[in-house]
């Protein structure tokens, strides 16, 4: 069922069993798990079904740290959320991503990969990722034209990626959501405040507003925040009537540990034989491999997790850092410029032009986990409010020395393994080879992956949510988002966001069943 909150009478009270704030990948996934159940689900979406510049402006805020995409255009404020722009690249986290690693400050989730893994197959389906296989052997066996580099897998292994079509949640799941009798989707219902009980141990209601001048109140038994990392933390921080520092923020953690995946061109692979590396560089296959580091190598070198993708050197030389070309405040314009100047639209032309000679040298492109850093954070603007009167969220993205060290060690290691295999040599980028440069350069981009800000920990002193994604100390407030990630792993987040949302829905079902029995 769909209701446009602009059309409701002012001050309407909306009531349901579960209120989900945000209808992107996480919110839509969460809502659909309740379809055809006896529970009334209220799904709140800040925008409508289409892009709307006024609604979009509610996401605006400054970026005040490492150069980044404008807040206003790095997420989309309408049904489907950022999946209406996303690239669709997906892969699974590794076991080591969840471990407490003594060389990675603030690492260690209270859950392990095995807790998320059971939800990956369904998430895979939701994202239209094709066959549920993650081992390189499967794809190599099924397609003899795919040739892996002959590297020692105990050191550098082939991590597989699947490409979603990409699934646009707002398009694919609109009918299912709006036709579900027990799912009540409210568009133009932008959450502006969450209200707790006096002792702050439960949420009573959410206030929603829109540009039509309407304010409504949503009451429910359980609340699930699904507005992604910047907006989730903003909503908690601005909700400071009962908790002066903001909800869930007794320990000054909300908004902190914002993480991205720093991405940058890091080197060149020169092969002594012309070798088309279709296995690594063909998104058209819907799967591809990237070079990843074995966990023991990460442990020995005391570095983060990271992977390297390959692209013919001539193509990679034309590619510009995303952060320099995605700078428009209007996300549609940013996306147009991105497509125009990124390597993507030149691929066919260059591949034709250079034909086979293109395959002797490859650009190396590293995507790395970043070390969780408390100073990398979302803060409320002291001066700027949006049109609905809510303080804007500013983003201060910060990196640390370990991030650069990781990129260096991984690329050096690839050089060493390529040399050991006798197939060529690797040349690092000048800034990477220069050990007086301690940090990644200014033009290091992110993948539009917003993570952290309401991190997961068993201890309220070190995390905002517990292992079940429940906000510490608040019985009925949950978060379905990459904002709960304690560390970011080396891969794009959305598959895991969807898996974590499925896990939360399963947990809530158990909890509700339990409380009904009681």
């Amino acid at each position: 069922m769909h209701i446009d909150a602009r059309q409701l009478e002012n001050n309407t009270i909306i009531e349901g069993d579960i209120c989900i704030i945000g209808a992107g990948a996480a919110g839509i996934t969460s809502a659909l798990q309740w379809k055809n159940t006896p529970y009334k689900i209220i799904l709140l979406e800040g925008g409508g079904f289409e892009y709307d510049d006024k609604a979009q402006d509610l996401l605006g805020g400054k970026t005040i740290g490492h150069p980044y995409y404008p807040n206003r255009s790095s997420r989309l404020n309408y049904f489907g959320g950022a999946t209406m722009h996303w690239g669709g690249m997906c892969s699974v986290f590794d076991d080591i991503d969840f471990e407490k690693r003594d060389w990675v400050a603030n690492s260690g989730w209270p859950i392990q990969l095995k807790d998320i893994k059971p939800f990956y197959p369904q998430a895979h389906e939701i994202l239209d990722l094709g066959v549920y296989e993650w081992g390189a052997e499967y794809f190599l066996k099924n397609d003899s034209s795919l040739k892996p580099l002959p590297l020692d897998e105990k050191i550098i292994w082939n991590k597989m990626w699947h490409f979603s079509p990409p699934t646009r949640f707002g398009t694919k799941y609109r009918k299912e959501i709006t036709e579900a009798a027990n799912i009540h989707l409210y568009t133009y219902a932008h959450a502006t405040e969450i209200t707790a009980t006096e002792n702050v141990n439960a949420i009573t209601q959410v206030t929603v507003k829109n540009h039509a001048g309407k304010t409504h109140t949503v009451k429910a038994k359980y609340f699930v925040m699904a507005s992604c990392a910047i907006q989730n933390s903003r909503q908690l921080l601005v909700s400071n009537k009962q908790a002066p520092k903001g909800l869930g923020n007794d320990n000054d953690l909300v908004g902190r540990y914002f993480m991205e995946h720093p991405e940058i061109q890091s080197g060149e692979l020169w092969l002594n034989e012309v070798t088309p590396l279709k296995f690594y560089e063909q998104p058209k296959n819907k799967v591809r491999a990237e070079l990843a580091m074995a966990p023991d190598v990460q442990r020995n070198l005391k570095i983060l997790n990271a992977t390297v993708s390959l692209m013919p050197l001539q193509l990679s030389k034309k590619a510009m850092p995303s952060v320099t070309i995605y700078q428009e405040q209007d996300p549609r314009k940013s996306m147009d410029t991105f497509i125009k100047y990124s390597s993507l639209d030149k691929r066919n032309f260059l591949q034709r032009t250079f034909s086979k000679s293109i395959f002797g040298s490859y650009g190396l492109f590293t995507r790395t986990e970043q070390e969780p850093n408390p100073n990398s954070r979302v803060v409320l603007s002291a001066t700027e409010k949006d049109e609905l009167g809510v303080p804007r969220a500013d983003l201060n993205w910060q990196l640390s020395h370990l991030d650069k060290k990781t990129v260096f060690e991984l690329n050096k290691l690839i050089g060493q393994e390529v040399g050991r295999a006798g197939i060529g040599r690797v040349k690092l980028k000048d800034w990477l080879a220069d050990d007086s440069v301690k940090d990644l350069p200014e033009y290091t981009s992110g993948g539009w992956h917003h993570m952290g800000t309401t991190r997961m920990s068993d201890d309220p002193k070190t995390g905002v949510v517990d292992a079940d994604c429940k906000v510490h100390g608040i019985d009925n407030l949950f978060i379905a988002s990459s904002s709960c990630f304690t560390t970011g792993g080396a891969v794009n987040p959305t598959l895991t966001v969807v898996a974590i949302s499925l896990r939360l829905a399963a947990h809530l079902k158990e909890k509700i069943k339990g409380s009904e029995k009681a």
Partner: protein, 128 residues
């Protein structure tokens, strides 16, 4: 093209030459073989190789001596038995061993072995 230039140099220095038999000229050829990191040279210009060599010598100034470098590179083959083919084989083996032992350096951005670094150093001192 960088690669072409060096494939030409490689061809000029590839013949197996017994050292004692050909005298000075041939010894120069072996010298060229020793100062020539064959795999790396497929990807680097002469200037780049020299640059790598100079960068290496800055970190190990003691080795700024062509004879010393040559003997370090050829250590393990008896002087009488040196030919350019077994010198080549010896250096390839040393390079492989370096990779296995992780005796690897990053010089002028290239990830190379200690042996290759010394070959570049010798190249920078000897190649005109």
């Amino acid at each position: 093209m960088k690669r072409k230039k060096f494939i030409a140099i490689a061809a000029a220095t590839a013949a197996a030459v017994p050292l004692g038999y050909y005298g000075y000229q041939k010894s120069k050829k072996v010298y060229n073989q020793v100062n020539f990191p064959a795999m790396l040279a497929q990807f680097c210009s002469a200037e780049e190789l020299k640059g790598i060599g100079s960068a290496y010598l800055q970190t190990v100034p003691d080795e700024r001596d062509a004879e010393k470098l040559k003997s370090l590179l050829l250590a393990g083959i008896s002087a009488q038995k040196i030919t350019s083919s077994n010198a080549n084989e010896h250096l390839n083996k040393k390079t492989e061993e370096d990779f296995l032992k992780e005796n690897v350096k990053v010089l002028n951005q290239w990830v190379i072995t200690h042996t290759e670094a010394r070959q570049c150093a010798l190249f920078s001192l000897t190649y005109k």
